[in-house]
C-alpha cells in the first residue's frame, strides 16, 4: 500500500472521529487510579515481554529438531515428535498450563530427592511453569510449521551440496536450516502476536503479568470500564510494536527469489 492511497478523504474523517472518541474517553472517564499503579503496570509489561521473548526463543530452538526429525529422523523419533505436536495442538493451552502447575506441581513435593536439589527453589515459584507451558506450546505449533519448511526446501539444493561432498551436518547448518528459517520468517510475526495473546493465561497460575495487575486494579478500585479499556489498549500497543518490528525486519532481509 503506497502512502497516497492511505490518505484518502474518508480515512481522514474516520481518524478525526476516532481521535474525538479517544479524547472524550481520556477527558470524561475516571483515570485517577492510573498514577498510583504506574510502576506496577510497567513491571507487569516487563514480565509479559520477558515471558513472551524467552518462551519464543526457547520454543523455536525446540521446534527446529521437532520439525527436522519428522522429515528425516528415525521412525520412533518422528512418531514422538508428531505425537507431541498433535498433543499440544489438540488441547487448550490453559489446560496444559494447569496440568504442569497444579498436576505436576502437586506431585513434586512427594519426591524427596527433588526437594534437596538445586531445582527446588525454582519449582516452588510459579513463573517456571508459565515459561515451560508457553515454550512447549510454541514448540508444538512452530514444530509443525518447521516440518513444512524443512520439507519445502528444494531437493536440488540439498543434492547439490551432497554432490560436492558436504558433510550432512554442514548441509543442515549451511543450507537446509537457513533456507527453512527463511521460509518461516514471514509467518513469524503472526506467531509472535498469537503467543502474546496466550501470555495472559499465566495470570491463572499466579504470575503477575499485565492481565493479573489489571485484575488487581479492578478489585481494588471497583471501576468497571477504564481498567479493561486500558488493558486492551496496552495489548494493542504491544501487538502494534511487534508488527512494526517485523515490518522493519522483513525490509532488512533479502527476500527469497
Amino acid at each position: 500500500m503506497s502512502d497516497q492511497s492511505f490518505w484518502q478523504p474518508h480515512r481522514l474523517i474516520l481518524m478525526a472521529l476516532a481521535t474525538a472518541i479517544v479524547l472524550t474517553m481520556a477527558l470524561n472517564m475516571d483515570w485517577s487510579w492510573l498514577p498510583a499503579y504506574r510502576a506496577d503496570i510497567l513491571d507487569a509489561i516487563w514480565i509479559t515481554s520477558a515471558l513472551l521473548v524467552s518462551s519464543i526463543v526457547a520454543g523455536f530452538l525446540l521446534a527446529v529438531p521437532i520439525g527436522l526429525v519428522q522429515v528425516t529422523g528415525p521412525r520412533p523419533l518422528a512418531w514422538l515428535a508428531y505425537g507431541f505436536c498433535t498433543l499440544i495442538r489438540g488441547t487448550p493451552i490453559l489446560l496444559q498450563m494447569w496440568v504442569l502447575y497444579y498436576g505436576l506441581g502437586s506431585l513434586f513435593p512427594y519426591i524427596p530427592e527433588l526437594r534437596q536439589s538445586w531445582l527446588w527453589p525454582y519449582l516452588i515459584e510459579a513463573w517456571p511453569y508459565a515459561f515451560v507451558a508457553l515454550t512447549l506450546s510454541f514448540a508444538g505449533y512452530e514444530g509443525e510449521v518447521m516440518r513444512g519448511a524443512f520439507k519445502g526446501v528444494p531437493h536440488g539444493e540439498l543434492e547439490a551440496a551432497e554432490a560436492i561432498g558436504m558433510h550432512p551436518f554442514t548441509i543442515l547448518r549451511r543450507i537446509w536450516l537457513p533456507r527453512a528459517i527463511q521460509r518461516v520468517l514471514p509467518t513469524l510475526g503472526g506467531e509472535f502476536i498469537l503467543q502474546l495473546k496466550a501470555t495472559p493465561l499465566v495470570a491463572t497460575i499466579a504470575v503477575v503479568d499485565i492481565y493479573a495487575i489489571f485484575g488487581r486494579i479492578r478489585q481494588e478500585t471497583f471501576i468497571t470500564y477504564e481498567p479493561l479499556l486500558m488493558l486492551a489498549l496496552i495489548y494493542l500497543m504491544l501487538a502494534g510494536c511487534i508488527a512494526f518490528l517485523f515490518r522493519l525486519l522483513e525490509n532488512k532481509l533479502p527476500s527469497r527469489g
Binding site: 495442538r89 488441547t91 487448550p92 490453559l94 496444559q96 502476536i193 470500564y225 479493561l228 495489548y235 494493542l236
Partner: protein, 242 residues
C-alpha cells in the same frame, strides 16, 4: 458427610455416577461443545457478511471491517472475555434502563458464545474473503447474465465453489473454537476445563482429572479432524489434484 476420595482408585474417581466425577466432566464437555458450536456458527455468519462487505462494500465499510479484524487479532481472547463478561452487561443494562426497559441478566454461556462468535467472525472473515477470491469471475458473470438473483448466485455458485479453498481454514477455526472455550474457565463458567479443576480440587487428584480433560479435548480434536477430512474429500470430489 465427606467422601473419602483418598482410598478410591482412578476408575472409581472417574466413574460417571457420584461419588465419581466422570459425569461432571462429561457435562462440562457437553457445555464446551455447545458454546463452541454456537460461537462457530455465529462466527461463520459474521465471516460471510464480513467477507462480502470487505470485497464489495464501500471504502468506509471496508475500513471498519479492517479495524474489526485487526482489533480482534491483536487483543487477547481473555481480555475480550472480560469485556463481554463485565463491561458488556453493564453497558447493555445502562442503555436498557435509559430507554425504560428492565435489566437483563447475561450469564456466562451467553457471554462465552458472544466472545467466541465475535473472535471467530474476525478470522472467518479473512478465511472466507480469500476463498471467495478463488471463485472464477466468469462463473458469477455467467449466472448474472442469466438474470439470477444475487442471493441465489451467492448460495448456488459462490458458496459451493469457494468451499474447497475455505474448508482447511474453517476446520482450523473449529479447532480454535473448541480450545477457546477453555478460556471461559477464567471467569468461572463451568465448562470442561473448570469442571476438571473442580473435580481435582475436591479429590486432590489434580494430575488425574486435568489429564482426563486433556484426553477428552484430544478426542474431540482428532474426531473433528477426521470428519473435516471426510467433508473435504466430498467437496473436492471430481477436482483435479495438483
Amino acid at each position: 458427610m465427606a467422601t473419602n476420595y483418598r482410598e478410591m482408585s482412578a476408575a472409581e474417581l472417574l466413574a460417571l455416577e457420584p461419588p465419581g466425577w466422570g459425569g461432571a466432566l462429561l457435562d462440562g464437555l457437553a457445555i464446551s461443545l455447545q458454546v463452541a458450536v454456537l460461537g462457530y456458527l455465529i462466527g461463520i455468519l459474521i465471516g460471510l457478511g464480513g467477507a462480502v462487505l470487505k470485497r464489495s462494500g464501500g471504502p468506509i465499510t471496508r475500513d471498519l471491517m479492517g479495524l474489526y479484524t485487526t482489533l480482534v487479532r491483536a487483543i487477547p481472547e481473555l481480555v475480550l472475555i472480560l469485556l463481554a463478561y463485565f463491561a458488556m452487561p453493564e453497558l447493555i443494562n445502562q442503555m436498557l434502563s435509559g430507554f425504560g426497559f428492565e435489566r437483563i441478566e447475561i450469564n456466562g454461556f451467553v457471554a462465552g458464545v458472544v466472545v467466541i462468535g465475535f473472535v471467530q467472525g474476525a478470522y472467518a472473515t479473512e478465511v472466507l474473503r480469500g476463498a471467495m477470491g478463488a471463485v472464477p469471475v466468469g462463473h458469477i458473470e455467467a449466472a448474472q447474465s442469466f438474470g439470477m438473483h444475487p442471493l441465489r448466485i451467492f448460495a448456488r455458485i459462490t458458496v459451493p465453489e469457494m468451499l474447497p479453498s475455505a474448508l482447511p481454514g474453517l476446520s482450523n477455526l473449529w479447532l480454535i473454537a473448541t480450545k477457546d472455550t477453555a478460556l471461559l474457565a477464567v471467569v468461572g463458567f463451568t465448562e470442561l476445563t473448570l469442571a476438571a479443576r473442580q473435580a481435582a480440587g475436591a479429590t486432590k487428584q489434580y494430575f488425574l482429572f486435568l489429564l482426563a480433560a486433556g484426553a477428552l479435548y484430544l478426542i474431540i480434536t482428532l474426531l473433528s479432524g477426521w470428519i473435516f477430512r471426510l467433508i473435504e474429500n466430498r467437496v473436492n470430489r471430481g477436482a483435479h489434484h495438483v
